[in-house]
């Protein structure tokens, strides 16, 4: 934990320092004010529940996510996020949990409002760490791939996330300027995001526990 904290502080200092050095040397076009952001990310979602792993394994589910955010104050954004993923696996016998050849497919589509804060101290900071959190409600449906058996419901909970944004504008300044002038996109970032989700209806036994760890890469645009 201590190591993570030290690494985070070092990253912040380094990125701020780099940004300052860059801003001292570069000549910038006049950026328009930033109102919000939009992002799309793809990654692997790992579910922590043992029942889930018994049926669907723990190799990770491909998950697609996008978010849109509106800037509130400074670097704080009000965000809305929505995603979708599905996974397939063989069912098990209820007692001994032996695998049978009955295949199941689970779809989940979580979404909800949240807040994100970006540690963006200077103009054109090349690496921007961020943290965030959301309330989530997830529609889920489990179905047998042979036959008509289906079950669907909602799970609710929340998530916390953190990640690093890497500014792409530095790589292609001309394209960056065109995006800015024609589309109003101030900055474009490549980012890594880690999200821990607790989707278990606040520890209720009644419904499915869809708590997970999600590692993803994506593209974020500030406009």
């Amino acid at each position: 934990m201590k190591k993570i904290f030290v690494a985070a502080v070092l990253t912040l200092l380094l990125t701020a320092g780099l940004a300052q050095a860059q801003s001292d040397n570069d000549i910038h076009w006049q950026e328009s004010p930033r109102y919000g952001s939009w992002s799309f990310n793809i990654g692997l979602m790992f579910f922590s529940d043992e029942d889930f792993q018994d049926v669907y394994g723990n190799r990770g589910m491909a998950f697609y996510n996008m978010h849109a955010g509106v800037r509130l104050i400074h670097e704080l954004e009000l965000t809305g996020t929505i995603g979708y993923g599905f996974v397939e696996g063989r069912g098990v016998t209820p007692g001994s949990r032996e695998k049978t050849d009955e295949w199941y497919k689970l779809h989940i589509a979580p979404g909800g409002p949240g807040l994100t804060y970006r540690f963006n101290f200077v103009l054109d900071q090349p690496v921007v760490p961020y943290i965030g959190g959301s309330a989530l409600i997830s529609y889920w449906m489990e179905e047998r791939m042979e036959g008509s058996w289906k079950r669907r419901s909602y799970a609710y909970g929340g998530c916390g996330n953190a990640g690093l944004l890497i500014l792409l504008d530095k790589l292609e300044k001309r394209a960056s300027g065109a995006l800015e002038s024609e589309w109003g996109i101030n900055n474009t970032y490549l980012f890594y995001d880690y999200r821990y989700t607790k989707l278990d209806n606040f520890d209720s036994d009644e419904y499915a526990d869809l708590s997970s760890h999600f590692h993803s890469l994506g593209l974020l645009m500030e406009f």
């Binding site: 529940d49 049926v55 098990v92 209820p94 049978t100 419901s153 036994d205 419904y207 499915a208």
Partner: protein, 357 residues
């Protein structure tokens, strides 16, 4: 005098024949083919009846393919595939699927060729080789919930039209042994279209009962190939993730008492929970309340043989009632509600009577 006249006539005929004025006719006719549709399978033979009408003599041969001239095709192997004729001659020749039709399934043109002294004639017929499909291999039976997934190697025979899936609860040797009737797809044998690929599902089967399966292929002409080797499978109660979540609390006390989650009595109670109680708000509240209090009780019961026996005895009527309620909703609950209401009414009336006195 006569000899001289005969000689003169013969010489005249010879001269006329030589000059082309009188022509010696030799014609070949196919009279019949057996089987009449001309279709045979591997190991079978076709018989061709023919007649050669001629006023002279010569030789005949029966050939597969060619162009009607002797030796251009493959002479059939049977001894009646060649010989001599003199004048009008009838005969029968045998075409063997195994010895003469060597290029596999398809149509073969058979020539009956008569070669006289100075001319040749022939007649043709068509024999088709249509072998039933080969034995189906790679049969695999996998288990699902109340169903079996049956798969096999389709092979590369383009003539196969569909497959037949034979099933029964007892092992068998021939088609008639497979007399299953339970599958939703129909009684044995179940037809599976070629279009549906190399897999079929037999659904509606009984869990924990072993079924024996064989598969055969049927070609376009309706000829059925031999049965595959037998395979077996046992449908099994199967749950997905969400149902496992339901079972997190499981039937704690019942499982502890019977020592087995899959015991019939435990299953009855579980079915009552899932199919009856969980369907109503009141029922769900009851289930949650039970899960709150039952784990410590279950732990206490599981360590005490006497307590386990007592709980088993107590649960027996409950489990049987649960089974009845699941099978026929209302069978137990309605009489119970009626009894409760009746008791309530009787008690109130009894109290009222007491107060009046």
């Amino acid at each position: 005098m006569m000899n001289k006249a005969a000689f003169t006539l013969a010489a005249l005929a010879a001269v006329l024949i030589f000059a082309g004025v009188v022509h010696a006719e030799t014609t070949v006719t196919i009279l019949a083919v057996s089987p009449s549709d001309g279709v045979i399978a591997e190991g079978e033979t076709a018989r061709i009846s023919w007649r050669i009408e001629s006023d002279t003599s010569g030789s005949y041969s029966v050939e597969v393919g060619g162009d009607g001239t002797e030796g251009s095709g493959d002479q059939v192997a049977a001894s009646d595939g060649s010989g001599s004729f003199s004048g009008t001659t009838s005969g029968t020749s045998t075409v063997s699927a195994d010895n003469d039709l060597e290029d596999g399934d398809g149509d073969y043109t058979i020539y009956v060729i008569a070669t006289a002294t100075d001319e040749t004639d022939y007649a043709t017929t068509t024999i088709s080789l249509d072998s039933p499909p080969d034995v189906v291999t790679g049969l695999l039976v996998r288990r699902g919930d109340n169903k079996l997934f049956v798969s096999w190697d389709t092979g590369d025979d383009p003539d196969i039209d569909y497959f037949l899936i034979y099933y029964a609860t007892d092992s068998g040797n021939d088609r008639y042994d497979y007399d299953g009737t339970e599958a939703n797809e129909g009684p044995s044998p179940v037809e599976s279209d070629w279009d549906s690929g190399d897999e079929a599902v037999l659904s509606g089967l009984t869990n924990e009962v072993t079924y024996y399966v064989r598969v055969s292929a049927v070609d376009e002409s309706g000829a059925e190939g031999p049965l595959s080797a037998e395979a077996s499978g046992t449908p099994t109660d199967t749950v997905g993730f969400s149902e496992l979540q339901d079972d997190e609390g499981e039937c704690f006390i019942a499982t502890a008492a019977y020592g087995n989650y899959d015991h019939d009595m435990v299953r009855n109670l579980r079915a009552l929970r899932d199919q009856v109680l969980q369907q109503t708000t009141v029922g769900r509240v009851l289930v949650r309340a039970y899960y709150t209090v039952s784990p410590p009780l279950a732990a206490w019961v599981s360590d005490r043989p006497l307590a386990r026996k007592a709980v088993r005895t107590a649960l027996l009527p409950l489990s049987l009632a649960a089974e009845a309620e699941v099978r026929a909703p209302g069978a137990v609950s309605l009489p119970l509600i009626l009894a409760f209401v009746l008791t309530f009414v009787l008690v109130r009336r009894s109290r009222r009577d007491g107060e009046t006195r």
